[in-house]
């Protein structure tokens, strides 16, 4: 890595500097993180400028949002909000994952179960389930159960369908291989079908978690003013816009980071064939 940079500099020094753009792009290509920095700077810069103009009185600058975020972390309100928000999220995702993956595998293995159950989840995945979130309060009030149910309603369909498709698209040659060595049905499922289906199942899990975040925010904004949703609603009501933006941005960052974390966990521990040497 370093040698190529030196080489680039050396040629640049001897020849007449080709042009700034080329030299820049060479530098950027050799250090990919420069692109990340440029990308972040560009958006945050635009945000800062838009806030300075300001394009709206309800549009704080990036720097004031950052300060507001630091304040909320220090005074503990952010930490407590996440404590409340992550509970139903984790619970809902765990239930959806366990239920969804087993249901998906069951449907993938049995034609009858597929016929009976798959259409329901095909409809539920394509349909705007958010419309049903308000119903949850009628039965379960505004507590943890209601929020967890909102998460499950949004996360379950995509997890079920992905697991089911994953099992359906297992490499038939591997299944034949297992049969040719007299593997039992159980061995076939545990040693071939589940491992081979797991990448697509994990993709479904990631989509499910993303949907779960949408669900928990919807529940907190709509039915139970607690957690991060309450932080957003409260600061909006007192016109503390920087704090409100900080809360919104934080949940987007948290969801991105947890999805990326899951992906790298999967690549690192579960998929040796994807690992870079």
């Amino acid at each position: 890595m370093t040698s190529s940079v030196k080489l680039g500099n050396a040629t640049g020094a001897h020849e007449a500097p080709v042009n700034v753009g080329q030299a820049l792009s060479r530098m950027f290509d050799s250090k990919p993180f420069l692109w990340t920095i440029a990308s972040l700077t560009l958006l945050f810069g635009a945000w800062e400028i838009a806030g300075l103009i300001p394009i709206s009185i309800a549009f704080p600058t990036f720097s004031s949002t950052l300060v507001a975020f630091a304040q909320m972390v220090v005074d503990g309100s952010m930490v407590y909000a996440y404590f409340l928000t992550l509970q139903p999220l984790l619970l809902g995702v765990a239930v959806s994952a366990a239920l969804g993956i087993s249901l998906g595998i069951f449907m993938g293995l049995s034609r009858k179960a597929e016929w009976l159950i798959a259409p329901v989840f095909i409809v539920l995945q394509a349909a705007p389930m958010a419309a049903l979130v308000p119903l949850v309060t009628f039965v379960y009030g505004i507590g943890l159960t209601a929020k967890t149910l909102a998460v499950i309603m949004l996360a379950l369909p995509v997890i079920v369908l992905n697991s089911y498709k994953a099992v359906r698209h297992v490499n038939p040659s591997l299944v034949d291989m297992c049969r040719s060595f007299q593997g039992t049905r159980l061995q076939q499922i545990v040693k071939i079908i589940i491992p081979d289906a797991s990448p697509v199942m994990f993709a479904g899990l990631r989509l499910g978690i993303a949907a779960g975040f949408i669900g928990v925010m919807l529940a907190e904004l709509l039915i139970t003013p607690t957690g991060v949703g309450d932080l957003i609603t409260y600061h909006r009501s007192v016109a503390n816009y920087a704090h409100m933006y900080a809360a919104v941005a934080s949940i987007i960052v948290v969801s991105t980071v947890s999805l990326a974390g899951l992906q790298s966990f999967e690549a690192r521990f579960l998929r040796p064939e994807k690992r870079k040497r």
Partner: protein, 268 residues
């Protein structure tokens, strides 16, 4: 053919053709409206390598999978060591065209997979697998994953896995078709060495005439739609000669020509 009528040298395996290990009796197979195989009768001798050869669509892979017990026949019977076959069994092992290696498992686990399914303990699995990994020339690659191996090396894993379960009959479904030409030749030579070494019965499917003539004790030509036996050829080639000499042997060249004459009219 008669020009080089030197009998195949197989001193350590006293083989007679009336010692069939696999018997195929009037097998018929249809897929929907398509008749894949019609009334196939065949016998495979112990310790020999028999090739099923034919143009695509002649049902050679289907026949192999029926013998393996992976695909049910519509009528007819397969007998292995005199017992009728109802499904896959420990006396047969299959080598797959697309290798069928588990991408999440190391070479070691892939080779030992047949033993793992049988509940053999880990130490014994490792002992047996190590031996066959070495035999196919992959020593040192035990802890590698399939994606780190070339196509040719992957199929060596597939072959080692089939050997590791110590089956009497090895069924090879176009095992070298996904391997490049140079590696193919090496493979064919290695296969002859393994046939000699392991004293097993090999049933080999290929669409390559040269490959079939080079490796086979007997070639069964199938004709397409519906698949039937059109000819059985016993190449008379001195297999003790060097690989280059075999490929220049007039018997080898004549047999290739003879088969091509028989197949020519299926290709247009």
């Amino acid at each position: 053919m008669q020009l080089s009528a030197i009998p195949a040298v197989q001193p350590s395996a006293p083989v007679t053709s009336n010692d069939p290990v696999v018997q195929v009796r009037s097998i018929c197979k249809t897929y929907g409206d398509i008749e894949a195989l019609r009334n196939i009768d065949l016998e495979f001798s112990r310790g020999k390598l028999t090739t099923l050869l034919g143009p695509s669509g002649c049902g050679k892979t289907t026949l192999l999978k029926i013998i393996a017990g992976l695909v049910p026949a519509n009528s007819g019977e397969i007998r292995v060591n005199g017992r009728a076959v109802t499904g896959p069994g420990p006396e047969r092992a299959f080598v797959f065209q697309d290798f069928a290696l588990m991408p999440w498992a190391t070479v070691m686990r892939n080779v030992a997979f047949g033993l793992e399914l049988r509940g053999v303990n880990a130490a014994e699995r490792k002992r047996v697998a190590t031996r066959y990994i070495e035999e196919v020339g992959l020593a040192g690659f035990e802890e590698k994953y399939p994606h780190e191996l070339s196509g040719g090396m992957r199929q060596r894993v597939g072959i080692a896995r089939a050997f590791a379960v110590n089956a009497d009959v090895l069924l090879l479904d176009e095992p070298f078709s996904a391997v490049d030409e140079q590696n193919r030749r090496k493979f064919q030579e290695d296969l002859l060495r393994l046939v000699d070494l392991e004293k097993k019965t090999f049933i080999f499917v290929t669409h390559s005439i040269e490959e079939a003539v080079y490796v086979s004790d007997r070639i069964v030509l199938l004709s397409p739609r519906p698949g039937r036996i059109s000819q059985v050829i016993d190449p008379k080639i001195d297999r003790s000669a060097s690989p280059d000499d075999i490929r220049r042997d007039p018997g080898y060249l004549d047999t290739v020509e003879e088969i091509w004459d028989g197949l020519r009219h299926y290709v247009d």
